[in-house]
């Protein structure tokens, strides 16, 4: 990438500005019932070694057989990333010894991945969008887990994850800040979740990132990169990028140079530590796995999968802007999760869409965040919120009372129509009733009336009094009009 550096992205060092360059390898666990090459369950949290077949344990003479569902998921993901789908791909063996790698090699795709180049459109902020190139996506097996805390003298191995299907999604070095890195992973996760190809649960390890970070002076060629392995939360990805970039800048500014190496991010200490240098890097001796034939399918196979794809976030966002007239940022917020977008559409359908968006984003999301709930566990259903919007639009309740109504529905549930009726929350639009209240207040406060005539901003005091007397139910517009008329201002 030789595009000009954006000044806003640069960070200041002691000797001038620096540009951060980040590329990422995301390991996304495929949503599937069984593993990439065996029938063992992929469910999370089983007893150690309870999801292990003879193949996963690499018993003598055992052979891998590809799980077609995992292939379909990879193709769906490729389509979601607007990427080239390779009709022929090859599984290779990546050879290294480790106790949680029973075969002594990981089956992966090296030279010929199932998915080629694609891209991800990333909203960095309300006003900034970037495009991050995807270099490739390939299928590979996950490793098992070594447990070092079970015995003082031995390590244990849990093979439940061994052989679970992963997609490794490799980005181009198109990311220029910690913020962009976070936004990229967030967007990628959104796409995967829409597609249903990865649940994106980082705390369960379903999504992990290897973050490649380098720094350079604006306009200069790429610097030497360091790879930070296995960062497992979006927040940590951002922190790791910042911490590592500052480490590298400090070294270069002190006259040193960066060694290409693999590092680990320690969130507790807020630092990265060397794991192994380039010299210590494994020679993986990749070669085509002779137990597996090349993976081949035709365009019709891909087309069939394309037909079954859901509307993706970018398309949905565009449609929300066009169809509902939403501001791009609001549309972006709503499509972040498929469930939120569905919820919004259920509220907006046949109603004032902008009002629906405001209520979903400001009231509902605000409240959900505060209570640590999600759209799926929201106490207020789309139907209930829709009814509240209906009540506002029809002028049955005021905006202020609508917020009270929302609170009641949130904590007590129930049909908003009934609540409004039973608790007398209906807005008074009957001018006769309002006029009566206005007249009474004018009559009781002659001094204020005089003052108001001299100083029209005093009108607010009268409005407050009328609202108080009507229990907040008076239509504020009607109150204003009548007061102005009667006070002669």
């Amino acid at each position: 990438m030789t595009t000009a550096a954006k000044p806003s992205k640069l960070i200041k060092g002691a000797t001038g500005d620096w540009e951060i360059v980040v590329g990422m390898e995301i390991h996304a666990q495929i949503t599937s019932h069984s593993k990439l090459f065996s029938s063992a369950s992929t469910s999370f949290g089983g007893d150690p070694n309870s999801h292990v077949t003879l193949v996963d344990a690499a018993m003598p003479g055992m052979l891998p057989v590809i799980n077609e569902e995992c292939v379909k998921q990879a193709i769906r993901t490729g389509l979601g990333l607007k990427a080239k789908i390779n009709h022929r791909s090859v599984f290779d063996r990546k050879n290294y010894f480790y106790p949680d790698l029973p075969q002594g090699y990981q089956i992966s795709q090296f030279k010929d991945p199932i998915v080629g180049e694609g891209e991800v459109i990333v909203d960095v902020s309300a006003s900034e969008q970037i495009i991050v190139g995807v270099e490739r996506l390939h299928l590979e097996q996950d490793a098992g887990k070594s447990l070092h805390d079970q015995s003082p003298t031995e390590s244990f191995v849990d093979l439940n994850r061994s052989g679970v299907a992963l997609m490794e999604i490799v980005s181009r070095p198109d990311i220029r800040s910690a913020e962009e890195a976070r936004a990229y992973v967030t967007k990628l996760r959104t796409i995967l979740r829409y597609l249903g190809t990865c649940d994106g649960n980082m705390e369960e390890g379903s999504l992990r990132a290897d973050v490649n970070v380098s720094v350079r002076r604006p306009g200069e060629p790429l610097g030497t990169r360091c790879e930070i392995k296995n960062v497992n939360s979006i927040r940590f990805i951002g922190q790791a990028v910042d911490v590592e970039a500052r480490r590298q800048i400090a070294i270069i500014e002190d006259g040193g140079k960066i060694d290409q190496e693999t590092r680990l991010f320690d969130p507790g200490k807020g630092e990265t530590r060397s794991m192994r240098s380039k010299e210590e890097a494994h020679d993986y001796r990749y070669f085509p796995d002779p137990d597996l034939l090349p993976l081949e399918f035709d365009q019709a196979y891909v087309d069939e999968l394309a037909k079954g794809l859901p509307e993706l976030p970018d398309d949905k966002r565009a449609r929300f802007i066009a169809e509902y007239g939403l501001p791009p940022y609001d549309a972006g917020v709503l499509v972040m999760e498929r469930e939120s977008a569905d919820y919004f559409e259920a509220v907006a359908r046949g109603r004032d869409a902008k009002m629906a968006a405001n209520w979903v984003i400001n009231e509902l999301f605000g409240r959900l965040n505060k209570e640590g709930k999600t759209i799926a566990t929201s106490p207020v259903s789309a139907q209930q919120l829709g009814t509240i919007v209906d009540l506002i639009s029809a002028g049955t309740i005021s905006g202020k009372l609508a917020k009270d109504l929302f609170e009641i529905v949130w904590s007590e549930g129930g049909d908003p129509n009934v609540i409004v009726e039973e608790r007398g929350m209906k807005q008074v639009t009957d001018t006769g009733a309002i006029e009566k209240a206005v007249d009474e207040i004018i009559a009781a406060n002659p001094e204020k009336v005089e003052q108001a005539k001299a100083k029209p901003t005093m009108l607010g005091w009268f409005v407050g009094q009328v609202m108080k007397q009507t229990g907040g139910k008076a239509n504020p517009e009607a109150v204003n009009t009548l007061l102005k008329q009667k006070l002669g201002i």
């Binding site: 003879l54 344990a57 690499a58 018993m59 003598p60 003479g61 055992m62 052979l63 891998p64 057989v65 590809i66 063996r93 050879n95 010894f97 106790p99 029973p102 075969q103 002594g104 090699y105 390590s155 191995v157 020679d283 001796r285 990749y286 070669f287 796995d289 002779p290 137990d291 597996l292 034939l293």
Partner: protein, 506 residues
């Protein structure tokens, strides 16, 4: 009725058992006795007499109830490379000490499905790496053929000692070929990665077929070189090998490289006319220093086939000489990876160390024999960064060229190719390869091409050497046309006259 039930061919025994002339139990007992008396040959690494007797009784019950399978009640030996549920499987390696798989290989399970009886596990070169059965952790296997000039007393004395000077039964399926030639079992399973069925068959006067790659499932057979390994039988006649292959072959969804094609009744091809068949004679198999008697045997084979009405065609397979070096890159490369799973972590031998790396090193250094370690190192080397293109990639290119050589010949209408099976008759135990492993590797010079091309290959006895040892001819066929090989091999077997295998001296 024959007095020694072990002298039956598989087909004869099948017919005798099916017609209730003899029981499977009698037949099985006779073999168990023969195995006990032949322990000196070291063909079996595990005898399973109780299991065999149980299986035989069950067979007799099925015969009585009229539900017999095609191999009902026929006792067989199983190469130690095959997984046999609950029964020792070590690929004759120290590293699999005590391993008893909780599963049965697809091929053996098909044999049991068809009613066969298991006598035990057969010796072999460790992980099928060897051409003389001398790399086995369980020690070498002796051929039942006495070396030229030896009498029985000298033979028996050698069996009690280090076996030096006795003849090798070939390898890696040396236990299989020795046991079949010594009438310890009616037939045996074997495997062939570079010649491990055909060369032992040729050395012992038996018949062995390596079918087309993908014809038999590899599931449950410990892998040596996945792209080359194939299961197949060793038996005493062409017909017997055809009967065996029919049960062993078949598609298996658990092996992605297995091919979904119907399995013909191969026995029907035995005795079919070969009139008009085009038999290719590749000039490249006439190698420097080939003994005159091998050349003569080959010529004899040509005459027999011509006499049976086949058309003899001189052909060229120009890349033949590159096959052996390319094979010794591809096979070790795959082996180095396939054998990585034997690490002492989950099963088999574990030699402790101060940390995980030293545990790996100790276990693998002690668990693998010299030849296996050598091939792992060769394989690791040829796959290493910087060497991969020069070795592995080039070897794969050569492999494509070898395959093309055969394809072109078959496109020209050739039905089968006739070559010698080995460049010499059997040699003595301890005689070859101790200082130069390549000396041993040269044994496979005529057979590796077939594995590299994935084709079917059959070895059939063609006669005896001047010193009275068996010599074999090899037939190479078109993919999945094993039937042609059986038809042509039967002509050779008939013309050569069945070799008379040695009488028991052991």
């Amino acid at each position: 009725m024959m007095s020694d039930l072990t002298k039956f061919t598989l087909a004869e025994a099948r017919d005798a058992v099916a017609s209730k002339k003899i029981s499977s139990l009698e037949l099985t007992r006779a073999h168990i006795d023969a195995i006990e008396k032949a322990r000196g040959l070291n063909a079996f690494v595990l005898e399973t007499p109780d299991k065999a007797l149980d299986m035989a009784k069950a067979s007799d019950a099925r015969i009585a109830s009229g539900t017999a399978g095609p191999l009902e009640g026929l006792p067989l030996g199983i190469k130690d490379l095959y997984a046999t549920e609950g029964v020792h499987m070590q690929a004759c390696s120290h590293i699999l000490d005590g391993f008893r798989p909780p599963y049965e290989s697809t091929v053996t399970s098909q044999l049991w499905r068809d009613g066969a009886v298991m006598l035990g596990k057969l010796n072999m070169d460790e992980f099928a790496m060897g051409s003389s059965n001398e790399t086995s952790y369980y020690g070498p296997v002796a051929s039942p053929w006495l070396p030229p000039g030896w009498d029985e007393t000298k033979g028996r004395a050698a069996l009690k000692g280090d076996k030096k000077g006795l003849l090798v039964p070939g390898g890696s399926s040396g236990g299989s070929s020795s046991a079949v030639a010594a009438h310890l079992c009616l037939a045996a399973t074997a495997t062939d990665t570079g010649g491990s069925i055909r060369q032992p068959a040729a050395f012992t006067g038996t018949v062995g077929i390596k079918p087309t790659y993908g014809r038999c499932s590899r599931w449950g057979v410990a892998a040596f070189a996945s792209s080359l390994d194939q299961a197949g039988p060793i038996a005493r006649t062409v017909r017997d090998s055809a009967i065996m292959l029919r049960s062993m072959a078949g598609y298996d969804a658990k092996d992605s490289t297995s091919v979904n094609a119907p399995v013909p009744d191969y026995e029907k091809a035995v005795g079919a006319s070969i009139k008009g068949k085009k038999i290719g004679i590749p000039k490249e198999y006439r190698i420097d220093g080939m003994p005159a008697e091998i050349e003569a045997l080959w010529q004899q084979g040509i005459e027999w086939l011509r006499a049976a009405g086949a058309e003899i065609v001189d052909i060229s397979l120009p890349h033949t000489k590159t096959a052996l070096p390319a094979y010794y890159i591809v096979a070790p490369a795959e082996a180095s990876s396939n054998l990585a799973r034997y690490d002492g972590v989950r099963y088999g031998l574990r030699v402790p160390g101060k940390d995980i790396s030293s545990m790996y090193e100790n276990t693998r250094a002690e668990g693998f024999g010299r030849e296996v370690r050598r091939r792992i190192m060769i394989g690791t080397y040829v796959l290493s960064a910087g060497y991969y293109d020069a070795y592995y990639v080039r070897a794969q290119k050569i492999r494509t060229l070898i395959k093309r050589d055969f394809e072109l010949a078959y496109q020209d209408g050739i039905d089968a190719i006739l070559t010698p099976a080995t460049p010499s008759a059997a040699f003595g135990i301890g005689e070859k390869g101790s200082s130069d492993p390549v000396e041993m590797y040269l044994n496979d010079v005529f057979t590796v091409t077939v594995n590299m091309a994935g084709l079917p290959g059959l070895a059939v006895p063609g006669g005896l050497s001047a010193s009275g040892l068996p010599l074999g001819l090899q037939l190479i066929g078109r993919p999945f046309e094993e039937e042609t090989l059986f038809s042509v091999a039967e002509v050779i077997e008939q013309a050569a006259g069945r070799i008379s295998l040695p009488q028991a001296w052991w």
